[in-house]
Amino acid sequence: MTAVETIRVLIAKPGLDGHDRGAKVIARALRDAGMEVIYTGLRQTPEMIAEAALQEDVDVVGLSILSGAHMALVPRIREVMDQHDLRDVPLLVGGIIPDEDKAQLEAMGVRGIFGPGTNTHDIVTFIRQIAAAKQGD
């Protein structure tokens, strides 16, 4: 494969919090970086996220969680994605994640955690790196 393929990213908001400004800012930044962003809206269940990731064949799934429910939601989403044979699709988490939870989330298979104030450029670079590694397989 010679040409670089367009990176596809699913941006999802699991759980019950209704604050999607952060998710939209990220979606826009990824679009401006030339990626195709599938934005699924609020209140997505783990099953909906896994199903969308499968059908859309995305390179990366980004979760935006501000509700504090990340320790319950993230492992469940990872589990359902694995059941859907999506073990190779990395998870990123953005939002309000206390420092003390980060190591545990990473142990659950989260590849990147981006809190408030993250430069969107850093997220773009990070996604490009993991997508390149994945597409190079």
């Binding site: 494969m1 040409a3 393929e5 367009t6 596809r8 979606a27 826009r28 990824l30 679009r31 401006d32 970086a33 030339g34 990626m35 195709e36 962003v37 599938i38 934005y39 699924t40 809206g41 269940t45 099953e47 909906m48 199903e51 969308a52 499968l54 059908q55 859309e56 064949d57 859907h84 044979d85």
Partner: protein
């Protein structure tokens, strides 16, 4: 038959999703896979859904799909959104309005970006529909980008085209302009519970009366109540009269009538040689497009990578004019003689 082709024919969702990505990216080997699948296509009824931004196309697809699922159909959805011409990126947001379809294994939704195409679809949409067809989806809904007046590629991919309008989106002059309304097999006035719906229906009916001589020759316009199919196809004169269907997709209203109207159009096309003629025209255009694209690609490959950039400078300095630059570039391409 390859493992991949077998998986598609069994309708395995991950295999379908991955092949759609290969189709979009023109990956190596995808032509062979599509060729192997092609004999298994032609079973699905392909329905195009087009109309201006904000008329409720995604919501209509959400409601229509649920209605088809109640009838036992397997529904594949291709939802197209625009690619930014500046960055190549896109935000594909049609799934937001389709959340009622989550968890249903009889539905497969794929969002596609236009990736530079201007006609309301992407280059890969036709092949993507064939993949879903081969995978066993017997109803395929293709939602175009929010289309204005000229994004009419959908008629080259669909059997039945729905043009979705909403109240307050323009006057009667808009309705008689050439373009998108002309391609409608069924006109849908969505958001029919909003003020102005009756005027929109009336404007569309006027447009139909102007455009269809059979209507002037004595067919009585039937002012149906809300949700009624407003016109019926006439079997004897060989013309299809697009019915006007009023819907409130956000409330699932009007879907049975819409399905009936689509079914009538399908029945109309199945009479005589109509479907065959439609598909013949579509394939004819598709071959021309593919021939042009393939020729372009193969010829451009013969030019040195910096050939175009070099010309730009010469044009800017007025050394050569744009058409002269093209002739110079063409003279560098070695045309392989065609076999007799």
């Amino acid at each position: 038959m390859t493992v991949q082709v077998e998986a598609i024919l069994r309708g395995e969702r991950r295999a379908v999703a991955r092949l759609l990505t290969s189709v979009e990216n023109g990956r190596e080997g995808v032509d062979e896979t599509l060729a192997a699948l092609f004999p298994h296509t032609g079973r699905a009824w392909v329905i195009g859904v087009t109309g201006s931004p904000g008329t409720g196309k995604s919501t209509l697809v959400n409601a229509l799909t649920q209605a088809y699922r109640r009838q036992g159909h397997q529904v594949g959805i291709l939802a197209v959104d625009p690619t930014s011409p500046f960055t190549g990126g896109a935000i594909l947001g049609d799934r937001i309005r389709m959340r009622d379809l989550a968890g249903d294994v009889g539905v497969f939704i794929r969002s596609m970006a236009t990736r530079g195409s201007l006609g309301g679809l992407s280059k890969a949409t036709r092949d993507a529909a064939r993949v879903l067809d081969a995978a066993g989806f017997d109803i395929i809904l293709i939602e175009t980008v929010g289309a204005g007046q000229n994004e009419v590629d959908i008629v080259r991919a669909a059997h039945t085209t729905l043009v979705v309008e909403a109240p307050g989106m323009g006057d009667e002059v808009q309705a008689i302009k050439a373009g998108i309304l002309e391609i409608a097999d069924v006109l849908v006035v969505n958001k029919a519970d909003r003020p102005g719906a009756a005027q929109t229906v009336r404007a569309l009916r006027t447009m139909l009366e102007l455009g269809h001589p059979t209507r002037q020759a004595g067919m009585v316009g039937h002012h149906g109540r809300l949700m009624a199919v407003e016109t019926q196809p006439t079997a004897d004169n060989g013309m299809w009269l697009p019915p006007i269907v009023e819907t409130v997709a956000s409330d699932n209203q009007g879907m049975d009538v819409l399905i009936t109207a689509i079914g009538q159009h399908r029945q109309f096309l199945s009479q005589g040689e109509r479907r065959s003629a439609l598909e013949q025209g579509q394939f004819s255009i598709e071959i021309q497009e593919r021939l042009r694209d393939t020729l372009m690609e193969r010829l451009l490959r013969q030019l040195p990578a910096d050939a175009l950039d070099g010309m730009t400078g010469r044009i800017q300095s007025r050394e050569i004019d744009p058409q002269g630059a093209v002739e110079t570039l063409l003279s560098q391409i070695i045309f392989t003689p065609l076999a007799p």
